[in-house]
């Protein structure tokens, strides 16, 4: 069971912490003519749903919040028992699900969307970046680092009869 970097677990735990900061704290503040508006990652989803764009809201939620969180939790489910030395049920299904979620978590793409949004608004008003923005950057880097440290053979080897 030595194959696969042990860093994958550490990075996933760190990503989970960043996930909470990125979602619970203000992402950025927009101020114009003495009025200020603050948003979190969820407020885009909520506004779209209220304006009657539920399918789009669902997609944005899935790609930027739901799938990334699910991926972190599945990573923990796959990796924690290896560290603690017990066998979890549904290991193969969890890993296959993780694999299928692959392209639908779009943190890096969201990051570029944020960049375009900031630039678009910078001519119109003042933008202040919040705690969540920095947590989000860390979250994006950590999930990428965790994925690259994860060796799928770690899972398949464990499923071989006799292991």
């Amino acid at each position: 069971m030595a194959r696969g970097s042990p860093n994958a677990l550490d990075r996933t735990l760190a990503a989970l912490v960043c996930f909470f900061f990125a979602n619970l704290y203000p992402f950025m503040t927009f101020s114009l003519e003495g009025r200020a508006e603050e948003n979190t990652m969820m407020s885009g989803v909520i506004t779209l749903a209220q304006d009657g764009y539920q399918p789009l809201a669902a997609l944005i939620f899935a790609a930027s919040i739901g799938v990334p969180l699910l991926k972190i939790l599945l990573f923990l489910y796959v990796l924690l028992p290896v560290k603690l030395g017990f066998r979890q049920p549904g290991l193969a299904q969890s890993y296959r699900f993780l694999d299928a979620l692959g392209p639908w978590g779009m943190l890096e793409v969201y990051m570029l969307g944020v960049l375009v949004a900031i630039t678009k608004l910078s001519g119109m008003a003042t933008i202040l970046l919040g705690v969540a923005f920095y947590a989000f950057v860390a979250l994006m880097l950590l999930t990428t680092a965790a994925s690259s440290a994860m060796d799928p053979r770690l899972v398949w080897d464990r499923l071989e009869p006799g292991s």
């Binding site: 003519e33 948003n39 299904q93 694999d99």
Partner: protein
């Protein structure tokens, strides 16, 4: 173990009556009659089932949605009550007029070039396999791989819209509202992503390696 020299005609698993699991890569004899991988329990197929039919249907659906996605505005910026709806292409032009050419290039690439190229490349791959083409299988596989990887980046504009509509809600002073085009555009991105995932690139090689 020394590396075996590359044979001019590589042996495929299918030619040895073996199925390779899509999920964990385990090789299972076709004769075993199994429908699930004995190691990871994923569905087993020699090739992705109905790959061409599914991909064709999805590409056609995406091409249809592509038209309203570009005709309808994706967002409306209202300042002091006056609104200016803009389409996907309009957004790129605005960035360009604002002198932000590098960002304009990024959005142009992600929102206009990528969806069009995806539809063209997938159509081309489907047609080439359907017509039994043996033309440059390796280049066609690379084309497929790039198409599959790059597709999700078209979502940049949708994320930008979700941020703008939430942030700019200052009543009479300034508001940004989403437009119908955004829903269609998101549908195009999602459908082409599913279409690309449903195409089986091994179909290209099956034809290329058939004895003449």
């Amino acid at each position: 173990m020394s590396a075996a020299p590359l044979s001019p005609a590589p042996v495929t698993a299918a030619a040895c009556s073996l199925m390779s699991c899509h999920s964990c890569g385990d090789l299972v004899p076709v004769a075993s009659g199994l429908h699930r991988c004995p190691r990871c329990a994923a569905g087993l197929h020699l090739r992705k089932p109905d790959s061409l039919t599914r991909t064709t249907a999805l590409v056609m659906a995406a091409a249809i949605f592509y038209v309203p996605a570009n005709i309808f505005p994706v967002l409306t910026v209202k300042q002091f009550g006056k609104g200016a709806p803009s389409t996907i292409l309009g957004g790129v032009v605005e960035l360009l007029e604002g002198g932000l050419w590098s960002l304009a290039l990024l959005v142009f690439f992600a929102s206009i070039l990528v969806p069009v190229l995806k539809l063209c490349v997938l159509s081309f791959l489907i047609l080439s396999v359907r017509s039994g083409s043996r033309w440059r299988p390796r280049d066609r596989t690379v084309l497929y791989r790039v198409t599959e990887t790059v597709g999700r980046w078209s979502m940049i504009d949708m994320f930008m819209i979700s941020i703008l509509v939430a942030l700019v809600k200052l009543g009479a002073v300034a508001t940004i509202e989403p437009g119908l085009g955004a829903t269609f555009f998101a549908a195009v991105v999602v459908i082409t992503m599913i279409a690309a995932a449903g195409f089986d690139p091994r179909l290209i090689w099956d034809l290329a390696e058939e004895p003449k």
